[in-house]
Subunit: 413 residues, 2 copies
Amino acid sequence: MTAVGNPGDAGLAPPAEYLDRLAELAVGLGANIQPGQVVGITVQSGQEAIARATAEKAYARGAKFVDLWLVDLHVKHSRLKHADPDTLTYLPSWIGERMLKLGELEAARLSFQGPPEPTLMDDIEPTLLGLDQLPRLRESVFVTGQQTTNWNITPFPNPNWARLMYPELPVEAAYAKLWQQIAFVCRLDEPDPTAAWKERLAQLEAHAEKLTALRLDSLHFVGPGTDLTIGLLPSSRWVSGRGQTRSGITYTANLPTEEVFTAPDPERAHGHVTATKPLLVPGSAVIEGLTVSFENGRVSKMNATKGHSILETMTKKDDGASRLGEVALVDREGRIGQTGSVFYDILLDENSASHIAVGAAYTTCVSAEEDRARANKSAIHVDFMIGSNEVDVDGVGVDGSVMPLLRGGAWQV
Amino acid sequence: MTAVGNPGDAGLAPPAEYLDRLAELAVGLGANIQPGQVVGITVQSGQEAIARATAEKAYARGAKFVDLWLVDLHVKHSRLKHADPDTLTYLPSWIGERMLKLGELEAARLSFQGPPEPTLMDDIEPTLLGLDQLPRLRESVFVTGQQTTNWNITPFPNPNWARLMYPELPVEAAYAKLWQQIAFVCRLDEPDPTAAWKERLAQLEAHAEKLTALRLDSLHFVGPGTDLTIGLLPSSRWVSGRGQTRSGITYTANLPTEEVFTAPDPERAHGHVTATKPLLVPGSAVIEGLTVSFENGRVSKMNATKGHSILETMTKKDDGASRLGEVALVDREGRIGQTGSVFYDILLDENSASHIAVGAAYTTCVSAEEDRARANKSAIHVDFMIGSNEVDVDGVGVDGSVMPLLRGGAWQV
């Protein structure tokens, strides 16, 4: 690529072996692409190398067609800069229809994370940022909920991301260091990354089963700036990152994954919480210094030292956008937390610490039909990290009994 | 971009002023993007810089939404290498539907030429190459024929293209030289490129009007290896590169453009012809040393020293794929011919010499309704160059009179 807007991308190629191993995880243990499947790949500018590597492996596994969907944040930036704000919610019909058809075709889906342009949107009025939904589509939330597609998201390093994380290093060194970190957290440095992930996933599944068996009424988070109770639904089910489509294809949606998570009762969050890490809303801006209060399940107050209005716009998108759709517990065994780094990438950062999300719940996290109707619905799903080794997490039983779940980041059950 | 598969792309950025002028031509005199229009941009990997530059200018002109469609030839290569040949004609429905919707929305369309990977397909069985139609869609031929969209194609240099043209130079020098050539043929080196093009387009329109007024029965090409008669329809109309949508938006489909062209009678080509330049079928392979014989309008014999079977597959795609849909005359005033270069890019090479195309006719090239029904229909449109300063072109009147049209590349009328 000729590098306008990305002048520092010049000559920085991904380490060949890591690229190959990452692509193998994405199509194998990740999306588990089947012979005859159509594969939809979302590609952001700068992700061509991983798109090509995964497409090659997808076709080698017998894929029928690999369809690329390009999202370029510079083009989004041009839109936000020039277009009539009233038109910013417009999307041509074919973008959402493609996603719905991927669902109908029971296709596989791949995408890659990594903030490509962390400061690009700094000159855009924050209230505009929440209006143009790209690259997130409400149809993808719907298709995910339908469990018709086997899908995977992996991180993919880029030079701007490396600069953001290691501003003190020359870009070549920063890029190489970021790849080392990604290789570590994705276990690409293991002799057999797939085997290493199978072992970790088995641990996570065991934790999830234990938590489900406890049938907790609520969770209680207590730490610096945090005292939050989150009610669970009677049939809230804890799951790990392993999923299964309706037709029985198992897949791992996120790699790396270090969390166990469930769908809370959207009407029973009370208290206040302080985010323990900054977060970057995809295609938008960094949110820092976030504190949120909840009353009767709804966000009642929200403050941030940076990026406040973008989050406020998003949480007003629909009725469920200000209620919780996910609560996730992450222990200190996870490799992301071990790095001590903030990656400014939700896929990684959410797996470094316990977190909650406003917006849509995953319907797989609820067993009973009546609870599935109660689980939160929304066009958005925004995670933010609330856990750390300083935050205690307790489980509260239906009888009011309290049991420690996490202390200093270690499981107590 | 991290440069897997394109290791030499590293650090080669387009000259900023030429990029800006090229983008201005594409959205201005080219597609003539209107306020409120949706804009569809086809982007091949490596074309992000021009896609971003034109998207920025499109939004600045008031575009409502700019939609990117990514085509990556490495992914196509993976498909051709691995996929069941029986599946190669499959395309997911949304790709064609997007194009049809662009027509319904009366959108603007942009794409950029320049062979990105000239040797990529060398290891693929040539009969497979014609089966996967990407990046060419039959729906785009249809939408173009409907005259609902204002559109433009410009060339955009890339390092592999530069290497192909100047293998003796280091890639940096080759890339810089290619940009100089493109600046010359696109008149970006003029003080006011738009004004320079308006002047040239006025000349071409004058030639087209004269030829239409002659009401020729046929054309006769004679030169080394060529003796070909091409019948015209009674209402065949000669046009230049200026077009107009049904709703009255004028546009220039190709920049550069140096041709005047019309739709021939698909049942009246006789004789044989030798291509005067090699050609590169987009997404496929180079065709060299091509000779073609015609009987009663249909290709009766075809030979090529390279790439024969890809062309043979394409001309068997449907009934019209082996008949002529276009004949174009190019004089020696055009800047592309003046460079003496073969660009291996049809947009440029076809404008360096008189040419013919098998496949679909442009319906704008026929005035009468009954002739419009007779003009050639096909899912393909493949141009090849048959003119040079050594090829004489005569016009034959309905009364049998013969008049010279081109001698030594100069107009005689």
